[in-house]
């Protein structure tokens, strides 16, 4: 028995040793290089909007920077967090402790982003969230080391809510996913709709990952509301859009997706999604700069980038600019510099970092094109309105971030 357990013990040790050998990094190199970690979902439900595309976006940024900042090489590492916060937090901890990673980007999935932000703040590195949508990152759970980059649920609700009412869609009915995320998206949007002068006729809650939307959609249809707000995400959004078409809802009413990405439109197709309102922080066909960048992205990925991909690119560029200007990779100095120096790049102009960690920029209200209007694959949106940075996000005065309210964090 003793012999046996010894053998097993040694086998266990050898196994872990074999697997973690590559983590041993020469400590001296750590200070001589800028290391950026792309934390994303490569295999799960978010892999389309982030995933491999996020890594490609970061690589494009490194190429544009010439692979270095002031002679110090930029190195990229990436990990598939498998949508598990514990894998993400543990991996980021290891990145920082053993691999000398200075900045982490993407962080899709709100649980992952929140868990990672605590680790990053504890270790005084920087997290640039371009993937996760939760406003908790700039409210209750804000830290001095988190930058929330591309969008958040407030901006999406706000953009779609206000703009759609202005475009004449003043009566709303909500189709809401029955859990915290859906509820908060519904409440946020309903408040915005009312503030803009619209009215909310009702709402129906459907369970998460519902398979049959017929009864919910009939209620939506009977409400006679002009706009059906989809306060759900992922597969639920896709299925409810499909079902809405089958029921002929879209002939008399318009859908407003509150969390819809261009990849969702791509997989659903224009005939099903035409006329839908979507808010986005970025679109590949905005101007020459975005088109040129997206073309490079397309060559490698075979699909157009989402706002998350563009955000990852922008976050790497921003970080490199800050390192160049401050001459250090020390997080406090970089955050301070970014707060005082608004950035401009392919993602947008005048990207301003607020004290609560929110990166403020223009948002866009899009309407999905008619199939006849669309000239090519991925030509999906008409930009209906630019929502100026000042009105796009939750006002700083409403922030519940302890750094703003002065409470203890």
């Amino acid at each position: 028995m003793i012999k046996l357990s010894l053998v097993l013990g040694v086998a266990m040790a050898v196994l872990i040793a074999a697997c973690s050998k590559s983590d041993d990094v020469d400590e001296k190199v750590t200070d001589g290089a800028i290391r950026i970690g792309v934390l994303t979902d490569m295999s799960g439900l978010y892999s389309d909007i982030g995933g491999q595309g996020s890594i490609v976006a970061a690589e494009l940024a490194v190429e544009d920077l010439g692979g270095e900042v002031d002679g110090k090489p930029i190195e990229l590492v990436s990990v598939d967090h498998q949508n598990k916060a514990d894998i993400a937090a543990q991996k980021v901890r290891e990145w920082i402790d053993r691999n000398g990673v200075d900045m982490v980007t993407d962080a899709l999935n709100s649980a992952v982003a929140l868990a990672t932000s605590k680790v990053v703040a504890e270790k005084k590195r920087i997290l640039m969230v371009t993937g996760a949508a939760t406003t908790r990152l700039t409210n209750e759970d804000c830290t001095a080391y988190t930058i929330h980059h591309s969008y958040d649920t407030f901006a999406l609700a706000n953009g779609t809510g206000t703009a759609v009412v202005k475009q004449g869609g003043d009566t709303w009915f909500f189709l809401t996913s029955d859990y915290a995320f859906g509820h908060s998206l519904e409440t946020d949007t309903a408040n915005i709709v009312k503030k803009a002068g619209g009215s909310v006729l009702g709402a129906v809650r459907h369970p998460l990952s519902a398979s049959d939307f017929s009864s919910f959609l009939l209620q939506a249809q009977n409400s006679k509301a002009k706009i059906i707000g989809l306060a759900n995400a992922g597969g639920d959004t896709i299925n409810s859009i499909k079902a809405a078409n089958e029921f002929g809802l879209t002939e008399t009413q318009n859908l407003a997706g509150l969390l819809v990405f261009i990849t969702d439109i791509h997989s659903l197709g224009l005939p099903v999604t035409q006329g839908m309102y979507v808010t986005s922080g970025w679109y590949w066909d905005l101007n020459d700069e975005t088109r040129a960048w997206s073309k490079r992205f397309f060559e490698r990925m075979g699909k157009m980038p989402t706002m998350i991909h563009a955000g990852v690119y922008s976050s790497v560029i921003m970080y490199a600019n800050a390192v160049k200007a401050t001459g250090t990779d020390e997080a406090d100095g970089i955050m301070e510099w970014l707060r005082n120096n608004p950035q401009s790049d392919m993602f947008g102009k005048n990207l301003t970092l607020r004290k609560d960690g929110r990166l403020v920029h223009d948002m866009y209200l899009m309407q999905v094109k008619d199939p006849s209007e669309s000239n090519a694959a991925w030509d999906y949106y008409n930009v209906r309105q630019t929502i100026p940075a000042a009105n796009a996000f939750q006002p700083l005065s409403e922030s519940r971030c302890p750094l703003i309210t002065g409470g203890s964090s």
Binding site: S20, S43, H81, Q90, D97, A180
Partner: protein, 308 residues
């Protein structure tokens, strides 16, 4: 010498744990230990009582969430937080187990899965869990109000002790007369019944013990990482613990530990090397396991040793 002989497995684990942090990243080892304890608790039920619970993440998650809640909302010390998590998981195990043990085989597995899914949806909606954002920012606190667990090295020692304690307890249960009765139930339930054992009561006690230990594992994980998320109560986690136990060797003391090491280390180390292939590789390992070494790693090695 008899002491050494009797506790050979435990002592070799102590040695491995003492060396491990010098060789490997301590936080990874802590995570492995939490899941190893979880798998050991599961093995108590599957390996020694013959009950396949397919919803063990419920108790793991219940421990994780309640400890996290106690630590954040009431600012309790970690040992009280852990205790609260363990008691909640045990109570939940008593209720769920009490319902599930009335049926056998596939029905038992399905009932445990259904009840665990109910808890999942409860956690998704309950206000205190933070829904899909998870319960975040749980402090590690000071053990007995004295020892600050914020330091990773101190935490490592603490997690190791919790694991060794749990492991010792399971080992003790298996060797006890109570454990012998459990094994007899596993081998032939009717015969155990005919010998006069109250089979249902034995099963329920085993179920509650297993859930309490799973809760302890979840609670320790929350303390280590500072959060509890929906992953902890997700059915995928229930599946993972079955995988760990089967790969390591069901019904062996050390099997689940080895299984947890293999699965967790692979999940972590492959995450930045092969990306989305992690799940495929884990699936392939399971297939190979079922086809070639059904007794699991430890089970096969033991069989070899016994043959020679």
């Amino acid at each position: 010498m008899t002491f050494v002989r009797k506790h050979a497995v435990l002592l070799s684990l102590v040695v491995v744990l003492a060396i491990a942090p010098f060789l490997f990243y301590p936080v990874l080892v802590m995570k492995v230990l939490c899941f190893a304890l979880f798998a050991c608790a599961f093995n108590l039920l599957l390996g020694y009582t013959g009950l396949l619970s397919f919803g063990h993440a419920a108790y793991f998650g219940a421990g994780a969430y309640t400890t996290g809640y106690a630590m954040t909302a009431w600012a309790t010390t970690p040992e009280l937080g852990l205790l609260f998590g363990v008691v909640t998981a045990a109570l939940l195990g008593a209720v769920f187990g009490g319902l599930a043990i009335r049926r056998q085989g596939i029905y038992f597995a399905m009932i445990t899965l259904a009840l665990a899914q109910m808890l999942y949806f409860f956690c998704l909606q309950a206000p205190f869990t933070g829904g899909e954002d998870g319960l975040q920012g749980v402090p590690r606190g000071k053990l007995f109000g004295l020892i600050d667990l914020g330091n990773d090295d101190v935490m490592y020692v603490f997690v190791s002790l919790v694991f060794l304690g749990g492991f010792w307890l399971i080992d003790r249960i298996i060797r006890s007369p109570f454990g012998q009765v459990l094994k007899s139930i596993r081998e032939n339930e009717d015969r155990a019944l005919s010998l006069g054992y109250d089979v249902d009561r034995y099963k329920l006690v085993a179920f509650v013990l297993s859930s309490a230990l799973a809760g302890l594992a979840g609670a320790t994980k929350t303390l280590t990482f500072g959060f509890a998320t929906l992953t902890d109560v997700f059915w995928g986690t229930s599946g993972e613990v079955v995988l760990m136990t089967l790969v390591g060797g069901v019904g062996t003391v050390l099997g689940p530990v080895i299984g947890a090491v293999v699965i967790i280390v692979l999940q972590n180390e492959l995450a930045d090397k092969v990306g989305s292939w992690v799940l495929v590789i884990l699936g392939a390992i399971f297939v190979v396991n079922v086809l070639l070494f059904r007794k699991g790693i430890v089970g096969e090695i033991t069989a070899r040793f016994n043959r020679t």
